[in-house]
């Protein structure tokens, strides 16, 4: 039967009105166990088939952009932790790089390489979560438990670098807060040895599994044109066949020094996204290996006394260092007037920071370009005429993370 809810409301056709009244309304969310986060979809269902979807965002809106207008630049880093909390180092580094772009700070190569290592680790942990949760949603719990052990190892490396595991607040404006120490390097090397084995096992479990393929192959396909029109980036766009990667197209933090490939899919279905993410994890392992092997030795922080906190020993002893220390902590760093946009390849797409500075201690305006927000706009159109269980699989394969969606 041909149905259109808008025309049904405008020109009541008896049969059509009857049909619309027969539709079931289902609240998918805001606290649905299958949606991995706090977002609501009001679905109109014809049996198992979705006729229309109405998405609601903002259930965990924390007004980050407004909060940032009252914080000195360095205090915004903990806020970015809470955007995509599966890969917070990428958000931290992206923000640091944005501010460095505004201030014109040159970061030494070693700090850039450490950043690359941390960002690729974060990408692996983000993809681990997305792909293994996709397995859980299609009914395979085991693979999830096997790879999550590796995420724990990544968090231990974070802990050695910055001191905490999930909300990392890693690095500082102008570099890292401390150098890679022996413990961190040992753990990194151990991770690089163990992870490929576990990832290969995970891929063997899923990639040619009939149940998994039946559930994902061809489900939730999005054409490259539609994906571009919506503004998709990251693995979701690459799965549709467009090889757009910020790391290659707009290299930042010395990504041009590394050899890696951009995996692209064919039709942009859930299975393609799964394949692209798996391949990206292999590429990330290779990038970390390259960065660790060629780690330069020119210091972990920029030589920018106006912006980078002086070493503590200096602060206790020298008056000049104490003055800089006070100025930086109070946020009086004389930021130039201007606006910058900087984007990084986040765990699930291009994470952009648009910063307008009026020269004050806080940004005049800060906008986060959150990829999840964009994916979620396409969600109602993508799930139309799908069955409910496929819609759940599609949502987790797009890796929409509520913290980033609402901002």
């Amino acid at each position: 039967m041909d149905y259109n809810l808008a025309t049904a409301a405008a020109a009541p056709d008896k049969e059509l009105v009857h049909y619309v009244n027969e539709l079931t309304t289902i609240n998918l969310g805001p606290t649905h166990p299958a949606t991995h986060g706090v977002f609501q979809n009001v679905l109109k269902m014809d049996g198992e088939k979705i006729v229309s979807a109405d998405t609601t965002v903002g259930y965990i809106h924390r007004a980050f952009e407004k909060l940032a207008e009252h914080r000195p630049l360095y205090q915004i880093t903990p806020i970015t932790d809470r955007l995509n909390y599966c890969s917070s180092p990428i958000n931290n580094m992206g923000w640091h790089m944005t501010v460095e772009k505004l201030l014109g700070v040159q970061v030494p190569k070693r700090a850039q390489y450490i950043r690359v290592i941390m960002m690729e680790l974060a990408r692996i942990s983000d993809h681990i979560i997305c792909n293994s949760i996709l397995g859980v949603d299609t009914g395979a719990f085991t693979g999830f438990l096997y790879v999550f052990q590796m995420r724990e190892k990544i968090y231990e490396i974070y802990e050695e670098i910055c001191g905490t595991r999930l909300t990392t607040n890693m690095g500082r404006l102008g570099g890292m807060e401390r150098d890679l120490n022996e413990r961190a390097i040992t753990k990194l090397r151990a991770f690089l040895k163990e992870f490929p084995v576990v990832l290969q096992e995970f891929i063997d479990l899923f990639e040619r599994n009939r149940i998994f393929m039946d559930r994902t192959l061809g489900v939730g396909a999005i054409s490259a044109e539609m994906a571009l029109n919506y503004g998709f980036t990251g693995p979701n766009l690459r799965a549709a066949g467009v090889d757009y990667d910020v790391r290659v197209n707009e290299p930042y933090s010395s990504y041009e020094d590394f050899k890696f490939e951009i995996p692209v899919g064919t039709i942009g279905c859930t299975y393609d996204r799964f394949l692209v993410r798996n391949e990206e994890m292999w590429q990330s392992v290779s990038i970390i290996q390259q960065a660790l092997d060629n780690l330069p030795n020119d210091g972990f922080a920029a030589d920018a006394e106006h912006y980078y906190l002086p070493p503590k020993q200096e602060v206790y002893r020298s008056m000049e260092a104490l003055i800089y220390h006070f100025k930086i902590v109070m946020g009086e760093i004389d930021a130039p007037v201007g606006e910058v946009y900087h984007s990084v390849e986040g765990g699930n797409g291009e994470l952009g920071f648009y910063l307008v500075s009026d020269g004050g201690r806080a940004p005049y305006r800060l906008h986060f370009r959150r990829p999840c927000f964009i994916y979620y706009q396409a969600y109602p159109e993508m799930i139309k005429d799908m069955v409910l269980s496929d819609a759940i699989v599609l949502l987790s394969s797009m890796n929409v993370i509520a913290g980033e969606l609402d901002g």
Partner: protein, 180 residues
């Protein structure tokens, strides 16, 4: 669409007959499960066995004393300014005659409170402190609580015990112990 010459096409091969059948996959899956029985167990049996934290772990705050047992904090308020969660409040007071053994500087914090409900353990207070007074301990975590009053840590619980000095962990500069 081709934007760079570094793309790698992911090809999806059609399922073979063996892959179409469920039974071999089930047997293979069981094999993997049994193989995992004999691997090293990743679980840490928590209360009995404890994982080693990193020396830079950001745990519960401590207000340090110096080697003579005097409080280091001089109530400059830099930690409160640096706190992105606005969790720290303090009231300063002037040191009186005869209190030289208690406080290191002429000014000290009469009241120093950290609201652990607000605190996000970002460590910016530690970065901000110019007197080596506040540290996040690498081996102590904020314990669970039953009431809101319990969560506001005053000086009675923050200042370290003069007899049992707290561990301040490692400093930003690689491998150097923090001033404690």
């Amino acid at each position: 669409m081709q934007l760079s010459n570094r793309s790698k096409k992911m090809v999806v091969k059609p399922m073979t007959l063996k892959e179409r059948m469920y039974l071999p996959a089930i047997a293979a899956g069981l094999g993997i499960t049994i193989k995992h029985f004999f691997r090293k167990k990743p679980t840490i049996r928590y209360p009995e066995v404890k994982r080693e934290f990193s020396p830079v772990f950001r745990g519960l705050h401590v207000l340090k004393r110096d080697d003579l047992g005097r409080e280091r904090c001089t109530a400059c308020g830099l930690c409160a300014v640096a706190c992105p969660a606005e969790a720290i409040t303090m009231i300063s007071a002037e040191r009186k005659k005869g209190e030289e053994g208690l406080y290191r500087e002429e000014k000290y914090a009469e009241v120093y409170e950290i609201n652990m409900l607000r605190c996000i353990f970002c460590g910016l207070c530690e970065h901000a402190c110019p007197k080596a007074a506040i540290y996040l301990q690498p081996d102590v975590m904020a314990p669970a609580f039953y009431s809101r009053e319990e969560v506001i840590y005053g000086k009675d619980r923050l200042v370290e015990n003069a007899d049992k000095r707290a561990n301040a962990g490692l400093d930003r500069v690689n491998g150097v112990r923090k001033l404690s």
